[in-house]
């Protein structure tokens, strides 16, 4: 029962996050914004459509969306919501989570290359590079949480952290911050990529799925949302543990993550493509720094 409610909460949040981001952006720009269930309706519409395939493509192009969605669903089933346990919980599930995300990424990169289009090749190349560079940051962040909590299991990790020490509160908040950064990179939001862009040459995520339509595109969209919700949930859980582990607080923090991204997207322009690698490596550096800070704090070295 508990596991099912966890799953349902994440699915609902997965639907809410893209809406919240676009609503925040609309409000800040003085527009009315879309209905709260607009993205959901769009996807339903896509699911009712047929398909168009390029003669260049092979079976990989047709299987890839299922692989991406399957991997994202299973990855999502490992993420807890506050104290609620997820469907799958075992020691070392953090490793599996990271690798499932990598599996989804590899599938989409191959599908993009399958079309033989230079635009999609561009997107695939960028995605592969940024994915490779963000991987250490992701592992460092999870490693820091593992260090503080003494567990390698997502569902225990957050519940084992005690927030009685003010130093640890700060560390957990910074981990939440880094997780939001990882979210922007993995999901291709500003400043890495602008999902609203209309020029193929400057896209990353959108350009990789240019040739998809109908059910395939719907699968990819759903997979994207689930992946985004999983990472946002890690960020929210980390921030919640800084205070008190409470389901409502976690949900509120997830919404906060979405709003924060919406605000950032309204006031910042995207970075130049060449600067992205520096940006991602900076995230890794911050993650490394926070790991050592946490390590020193735990060793209780009096400076």
């Amino acid at each position: 029962m508990e596991q099912i409610s966890t799953t349902i909460i994440i699915i609902i949040l997965a639907l809410l996050i893209p809406n919240t981001i676009s609503l925040t952006k609309a409000k800040l720009a003085g527009r009315r914004g879309v209905r709260i269930y607009q993205y959901f309706m769009d996807t339903i519409k896509l699911l009712r459509k047929g398909a168009v395939y390029s003669p260049t493509t092979t079976a990989i192009f047709k299987i890839a969306p299922s692989v991406y969605l399957g991997a994202s669903i299973v990855a999502m089933l490992m993420i807890p919501v506050g104290v609620l346990h997820p469907m799958f919980a075992f020691n070392g599930d953090v490793i599996m989570f990271c690798y499932l995300m990598a599996l989804g990424r590899a599938a989409i990169i191959l599908a993009a290359m399958d079309t033989g289009s230079s635009f999609e090749g561009m997107g695939a190349s960028r995605e592969a590079l940024y994915g490779a560079l963000i991987e250490p940051a992701l592992f460092l962040t999870i490693g820091t949480i593992a260090l503080i909590s003494g567990s390698t299991n997502f569902s225990d990790m957050f519940s084992l952290i005690k927030s009685d020490n003010i130093n640890m509160v700060i560390v957990m908040l910074i981990i939440g911050y880094i997780s939001i950064k990882i979210f922007t990179v993995e999901m291709g939001r500003i400043p890495i990529d602008d999902p609203k862009t209309h020029l193929e040459l400057t896209m990353i995520h959108e350009v990789m799925v240019l040739d998809y339509c109908g059910i395939d595109l719907a699968f990819i969209n759903i997979a994207n949302w689930l992946k985004g919700a999983s990472i946002a949930m890690i960020a929210a859980n980390a921030m919640t543990t800084a205070f008190a582990l409470n389901i409502w607080l976690t949900i509120a923090f997830t919404i906060f993550v979405a709003i924060a991204i919406g605000v950032v997207e309204s006031i910042y322009a995207r970075a130049k493509m060449a600067r992205n690698t520096t940006y991602i490596l900076t995230i890794t550096a911050i993650a490394m720094l926070i790991f050592f800070v946490a390590f020193i704090l735990l060793k209780d070295i009096k400076l």
Partner: protein
């Protein structure tokens, strides 16, 4: 008894020289098959009963007098080598059909005989307890593999690379001889077991460094890897597969064998191996993304895998030194699993490159493309290898990386002594793992996806059945480890325990088994969800309109295959941020100012391994210099030579007088 059987088998190999060209490879295959069945049977028996199988004292004309036995460590390597060997022999059957006319009889015989010799040399090296036997087999390995490489010796480039290989291997061999003879001056008899008493009484670091040089050159660790890309691209594909899948593992076996006798100074050795592993891995993976030649790509990728294995061995030694038993066992088990999965998938990848090589007549990625439609079987099998190589779930590549990560994460969570080491290993593994995905998606998509970049590829068909059958044995391993991780973990743990010399706690091991069972559960659920989603989609599409339309070209209506993304551009982003490890050379004929309508121009981009040129430059120059100095005594005049002889006697005379000899 068993040894005599093997000797009879080897003697049967002489038959290869007598029969018709067609049957040579069949005899080779039969001999290797019988040999691998025997050695696999014995090895499995050793692992199942956990008893060392003593072959007793040999006394025969080939191996001389010595002891042979199969223990746990050599058993697992024997299984790897035998499985690779039998696949290679089956593959060679298919491969030879295209070469029957172009090669002379003696060439074919020599090649087949060398295959048999290489296989039995490796088995001999693994089973030797006696150092002289070991060194003979080691040398036999080098020579037979050299003969295998020069199969296409008409090409001068190949001859040069093969000689390069031969010289480097002998440097390694000399290092081994030096190391063993140093030990033999102190302890007797000349068996591996006496290494233990030597290492207990002496500082193991100097001798171990020499051993590392000797074995590491075969395994291809960081500064000693320069022969890998050259040799693998020179050799025929099945030979590259044999060398990469089996011979490399024997190099790592040597390191593990020596390490299992060392009990002091483990921290230093561990950290050294750990750092070597990280450098090897990062170097290999970054250079592999830049390669254009498929075989060179695989060579660097195999270097990356060796890096991960050494990283894990280092972590395991550090764990042992600091009393972190759990990390030690996990990392060592991960290293052995990585070894198995590397042997399996790298053999397969060399096979598929061999298929591409004979069908499309090119190993240059930029001249391939769109082969998935023409060679669907090869494409599918390569896809499986890609999943393993990237360490993605659900196959065996993930399980081995999972084990290494598991040990590292557990150390971090327990806040033990090695947190800093663990986090460094974590970051290195994560980075390597990320870039591997870039490298392999490039490899796969440039070769198999999109449209063909060359028009002559229109008539390509997939290869015959013999070559496809060769894929099965490694595939069984890949799938079995992927879906039965806990079983394999329990099989391999006793082996890591013997290497480390400590026994794992039962509760720790049970927790790993629970995790691995969960990993399997998640993998199976994922595969089922993916299949369900795919079936759902196809069912939904059945009632709807599915049309075909060209790839989106942003409104451009005449796309050509030359407009596709190339391999060079795919990895350009990574090259831009890692300029210092490769030596780039760009040759282009510039477009002149008065060329209003530009003519055809060519651009040639080369990425050379920086260490490669650095290494050959200074020591070749040094040898030349010394050679020149020495050659001044060669005057071609008899009176000078008489003088030299006289001087020699004088020196000897003086030395005897002063009692210096």
């Amino acid at each position: 008894m068993l040894i005599n059987l093997v000797i009879i088998l080897i003697s049967l190999a002489i038959l290869i020289f007598t029969v018709n060209s067609k049957y040579k490879i069949w005899i080779t295959m039969a001999i290797i098959a019988v040999g691998s069945i025997i050695s696999c049977y014995e090895a499995v028996k050793v692992i199942a009963t956990n008893n060392t199988y003593n072959l007793g004292k040999t006394n025969n004309f080939i191996l001389g007098e010595g002891y042979m036995s199969i223990d746990l460590l050599s058993a697992i390597f024997m299984i790897i080598v035998s499985c690779v060997a039998i696949s290679v022999a089956i593959y060679a059957c298919g491969y030879f059909k295209t070469h029957l006319e172009s090669k002379s009889k003696i060439q074919l015989s020599l090649h087949c005989f060398s295959l048999v010799a290489l296989y039995f040399a490796m088995i001999g090296a693994l089973a030797s307890q006696d150092i002289y036997r070991f060194l003979i087999c080691w040398e036999l390995m080098t020579i037979s593999s050299f003969l295998l490489i020069i199969f296409d010796a008409q090409n001068s480039e190949i001859r040069k690379n093969a000689l390069n290989y031969l010289v480097l291997m002998h440097i390694g061999f000399i290092a081994l001889v030096v190391a063993f003879s140093t030990i033999m001056t102190e302890v007797q008899p000349a068996t591996f077991d006496s290494l233990k008493s030597y290492f207990d009484n002496n500082n193991p670091i100097p001798i171990f460094s020499i051993f590392l040089l000797g074995f590491g050159i075969k395994a291809g660790i960081f500064p000693l890897h320069i022969w890998l890309p050259k040799t693998y691209s020179a050799a025929p594909s099945h030979v590259s597969a044999f060398m990469s899948g089996a011979m490399k593992t024997v190099g790592i076996y040597g390191v593990l064998r020596v390490l299992s006798y060392i009990n002091t100074e483990l921290m230093t050795i561990g950290i050294a191996l750990f750092i070597i592993g990280i450098i090897t891995g990062v170097w290999g993976v970054l250079l592999s993304t830049m390669q254009r030649d498929t075989k060179r790509f695989l060579a660097y990728s195999s270097m990356e895998n060796v890096g991960i294995i050494f990283l894990a061995i280092g972590v395991s030694l550090i764990g042992k030194a600091s009393g972190n038993n759990f990390m030690a066992i996990c990392a060592m088990t991960g290293a052995i699993m990585q070894l198995i999965s590397h042997s399996a998938f790298k053999t397969l990848l060399f096979f598929s490159v061999g298929n591409i090589c004979t069908q499309a007549k090119s190993t240059n990625m930029e001249k391939l493309g769109g082969l998935a439609k023409k060679m669907p079987m090869t494409a599918m099998l390569t896809m499986i290898c890609l999943v393993v190589a990237c360490g993605l779930p659900p196959l065996c590549g993930f399980i081995s990386e999972f084990m290494i990560y598991y040990g590292l994460f557990d150390t971090i969570a327990m806040q033990g002594n090695n947190v800093i080491i663990a986090i460094c290993g974590l970051v290195a593994m994560a980075f390597i793992g990320g870039v591997v995905i870039l490298a392999y998606t490039k490899f796969y998509s440039i070769i198999f996806l999109g449209n063909s970049r060359v028009h002559s590829h229109d008539k390509i068909v997939d290869v015959g059945t013999a070559r496809t059958i060769a894929f099965t044995i490694p595939l069984i391993f890949i799938v079995a480890i992927g879906f039965m991780p806990a079983t394999f973990f329990q099989i391999i743990t006793p082996i890591s325990e013997t290497i480390i010399g400590q026994v794992a706690h039962v509760t720790d091991m049970n927790s790993v088994v629970i995790s691995l069972n969960n990993v399997r559960l998640v993998s199976i659920v994922m595969v089922m969800i993916i299949i369900a989603l795919y079936i759902l989609k196809t069912q939904m599409l059945k009632k709807r309109v599915v049309t075909e339309s060209p790839t989106w070209g942003c409104g451009f209506t005449a796309p050509t295959e030359r407009m596709q993304y190339s391999g060079e551009s795919f990895s350009e982003g990574l090259q831009a941020i890692s300029p210092s490890i490769s030596k780039d050379k760009i040759e282009e004929d510039k477009i002149e100012r008065d060329e209003i309508f530009p003519n055809e121009h060519s651009v040639k981009i080369e990425h050379k391994d920086r260490i490669d040129t650095l290494f050959t430059q200074w020591w070749v120059a040094l040898i030349h210099k010394i050679n020149k100095k020495v050659m001044t005594i060669k005057t071609n005049r008899v009176n000078y030579y008489i003088l030299y002889a006289l001087l020699f006697f004088v020196v000897i005379f003086l030395l005897t007088i002063f009692n210096l000899m």
